[in-house]
Structure formats: structure tokens, C-alpha cells
């Protein structure tokens, strides 16, 4: 059992700061300074108990602080590790530009291939359903919709979960209602059906995930989600699609370009 001499200091018993917070502070600083590198194992609970002369629950408490900050993650039977920052996927504001749609493959696949990652799409589900209050409002008082669910993975890791809602009177009986919507995706099909796209509205929120989202996206603790709701409008001003997307926040950077006029 090593004594972790230079890496970590001591507890100041006269401080008002709780012991577990002092320990968390020292570990956090050590991580920030690069004393512990990405994916590196932190000292075990037992080692820290020995080093600081505190009880195990106190050490665990300090770990849970760092977990809540998304700095570390624990692996049962292995140890506590500095959480690596995964490669991020950049979403540019021109990602739905028509020129991208005309190339055939979906934006997600093209982009991931270009970045050298292995993309996958799964849990594809297409069904007709009643619109929720919110979706109905966004689509302009539509009652029934076609719902297309899917999950996106990069190199085996789930990063995004999305559901598209389209008015049934538009989508029913078209290729949009098929599992594979064909080249260019549903936006290409909408345009073929005469719904020329004019613009998109995107609403962005960030929050902690619900338990079901933790499961679907295999989220580590301390990782928020980005919740994006996009509404597509055609040139007649009609909302023709609402896409509700939940993304693992540590895997994304969203990027927008705004005119200054």
C-alpha cells in the first residue's frame, strides 16, 4: 500500500469545509492539473481511507461529489477512473441544407464516416399514434401522427435518441411510413410530395436525464442531456415535422450561424 505522498495533501481539521469536500477538492485539483490522466485509476477507497485517516463512507462521499460533477466514474470491481472526454460530434446549423440532402446517405452516416467513426442506427420503430398536447400544438392542432423513433450510435456508443412526428395526412401511405425512408431521408421525401421546406425552428434545453434516458443512452452519472425539438416548416408556413431529440451532452457541440442583420 503506497502512501500517495506528493499527489494529495492532508485534511485541515480546523476548516469549516466538510472533510469529504476537502478530499473531493484535492482529487479534483489533482485531476485538473493532470496528475491523474484521462481514464487513469484514482487511488482506491481503501488507500484514501488509509491516507487521510477517515472512514470509508467519507471517502465514498467525496467520490460521489466528483461523480456528480461528471469528473470520474466508478467501475464495480475495478476502481474509480477519470472520465475521458469522448470525441464530440459537431452539429452545424447547415446540416439540413438541401445540398447535403441530395447526396443520398443520411447526414449522420456521412458525417461519422468522414470523422472515422463507425455509425449505427437502431431501435427503428415506425408507428401511428395520437399526438401529445405539445406535439399537436407544434404541428398546428394535428390529432394523429406518424412517429418514427430511432437511436444513433457511434463506435457502439449510443449518443442520441430521436423521434420524428409527422401529420398522418402527409405521411400515411408514403415511403415516410416505411422503416427505410430512402435516400436523403424524410426531408427529401417531403419535398418530393410537394412540401418544399422553408425553414426549421430549433429549441434547445439542457437538463439531467430521466432514468429511462440514462438507460437508453447508457449515460454515466454526471452527464446531462441536450434536449432539442426541431420543427420543420414548408413554404406555405405549415409545420410538416417535429423532431424530438435527446443527446448525450458529452458527445455533442451544437453550432449555429446567425445573421447580424
Amino acid at each position: 500500500m503506497t502512501s500517495l505522498p506528493s499527489l494529495l495533501g492532508d485534511i485541515d481539521p480546523t476548516s469549516d469545509r466538510a472533510v469529504f469536500r476537502q478530499i473531493a477538492d484535492q482529487l479534483r485539483e489533482a485531476i485538473d492539473r493532470g496528475r491523474f490522466k484521462e481514464s487513469e485509476k484514482l487511488p482506491s477507497e481503501a488507500e484514501l481511507v488509509e491516507h487521510y485517516g477517515v472512514s470509508r463512507m467519507t471517502v465514498r462521499n467525496s467520490f460521489s461529489v466528483l461523480q456528480g460533477e461528471g469528473l470520474v466514474h466508478a467501475e464495480h470491481g475495478k476502481g474509480v477512473f477519470v472520465r475521458p472526454r469522448p470525441p464530440v460530434r459537431r452539429l452545424a446549423s447547415d446540416r439540413f441544407a438541401r445540398r447535403h440532402r441530395e447526396q443520398g446517405k443520411s447526414a449522420f452516416i456521412v458525417e461519422a464516416d468522414a470523422a472515422g467513426s463507425h455509425p449505427q442506427v437502431d431501435s427503428l420503430e415506425v408507428k401511428e399514434a395520437k399526438a401529445s398536447q405539445d406535439i399537436s400544438t407544434r404541428l398546428g392542432s394535428v390529432r394523429r401522427v406518424l412517429a418514427r423513433r430511432r437511436r444513433y450510435l457511434l463506435d457502439g456508443r449510443p449518443v442520441e435518441f430521436a423521434t420524428s412526428y409527422l401529420p398522418l395526412d402527409i405521411a400515411r401511405g408514403t415511403q415516410i411510413a416505411e422503416p427505410n425512408p430512402g435516400p436523403g431521408g424524410i426531408y427529401a421525401r417531403l419535398e418530393e410530395l410537394g412540401h418544399h421546406l422553408d425553414h426549421f425552428d430549433e429549441e434547445i434545453r439542457a437538463r439531467m436525464p430521466a432514468p429511462s434516458e440514462v438507460k437508453t443512452l447508457r449515460l454515466a452519472s454526471g452527464v446531462p442531456v441536450i434536449h432539442l425539438v426541431r420543427t420543420a416548416y414548408d413554404t406555405e408556413g405549415r409545420a410538416v415535422e417535429v423532431c424530438d431529440t435527446v443527446m448525450a451532452a458529452d458527445a455533442y457541440v451544437l453550432s449555429y450561424q446567425l445573421p447580424a442583420t
Copy 2:
């Protein structure tokens, strides 16, 4: 001491699910179903200990799960409460349109007044500094910058903390270097100086806050931050400002409009 009869069920000792998770599940469901309303007090630790027949640490453990999800918050000496969703500030993508700038007051003040909130701006600090690597890159290899820091509050609650960086050769000696940049803000001054704004790039990330951000924004546990970095370009393609903003995620919805072309 009440028995909390109908609100909460029992523990299933045969389940693999940990007891504290089962308790958290029941509390979460009760909150979701509205059995506990916003700002309402949950049963005290002692009551739950009695109801479920578990130890206090187990109950606390389940509370900490819900805190991590941002669902509840504890107040020392009072109890554990359902966290209210604060009113959100909507940031539209046209918020920097020139027509808004020409009205004089800052966008933040105008908007908040319109929404019936009481806006404040504090911790104003203006100083010259060396650009960080990141800022320097975004501004096009600028070494020294003018940094303008400020914090925004709504009804006394801090919601946003921002720092603007401008190349020193542009800002030095102008009103931009004064604490009060005058009507229309620094963008109006930049245009008067001949830097006609062309467009903005915004990069958006979400993550858990660092301890200093928790302090500055008085964040409850389980509340992520939205990190937005905006770069302003003039009509000559030069980056004339970078604004680094950290927002309390529970107080904001960002909204963008994208062309479909």
C-alpha cells in the same frame, strides 16, 4: 407521525433493485404524478425511515439520487422539497438583430422588463488581459484582449455569467473599455467604429458546472449549465468579439431558426 399510506408503497425485498433505488423510484413516480407538487415538502428522512423500515443512510441515499436528477433539493433544518421549475428565459436567434440594438437599452433588460421580471447586471469588470489559447485562436491569433465580465440576474437570481473578449487594437481607448458601453451595447459601438457586423457563430455545449460556477450562479445540485461561445464577425471577415457565456440550464431555452436551403 403519519403513515404515508396511499402515497408510497413498500419495498420488495426479493427484487435485485437496491432498496434505496426502489425508494427513489417511488418518490420520483409520486412527484411525476403530481402527488407532491412544486415546492412541496417531501416526507422527512425520519418519516421515511419509519415507513420503509430502513436505516437513515438508505433514505438519504435515495434522496441523493433524486437530487442528482435535479428533481428535489434539501434545505438544512427545513426538509426536502420538490424543485420548482423556474420561469425560463427564451433566447431567440434574432436577439442580436440590428433593429433590437437601435433601441438603446440592452437586450437583457428590455426582454426581462417585457416578461415582468426584475433584471439586474452585476460584477461588472473590465480589464486588459492576455488571451487564452482558445480565445486567441477564435479571434485570429490576437495576443492581448479587453475582457468584459458581467453577471445577469432575474428577480435576484443569478442566471448567466458572461465574459466578452475583444482585440485590444479595436477596443482600447473607446467606450467599449468603459464599464458602461452606452446605448445598444458593445455591438453598437463596434459598428460606429466601422466594424459592421456580418454574422455570429455560436457553439453550444452542456455539462455539469465547476464548483466556481455553482457558487457564481447559486446552482442547486442536479442543474447543468449551458456553455455558449459566440464569435462576432464583421463584414471583412474579421472576428471582432468572442463572448463566453455560462447559463443556468434550468433558466433557459435557446431558440434558433435555420434556413432549409
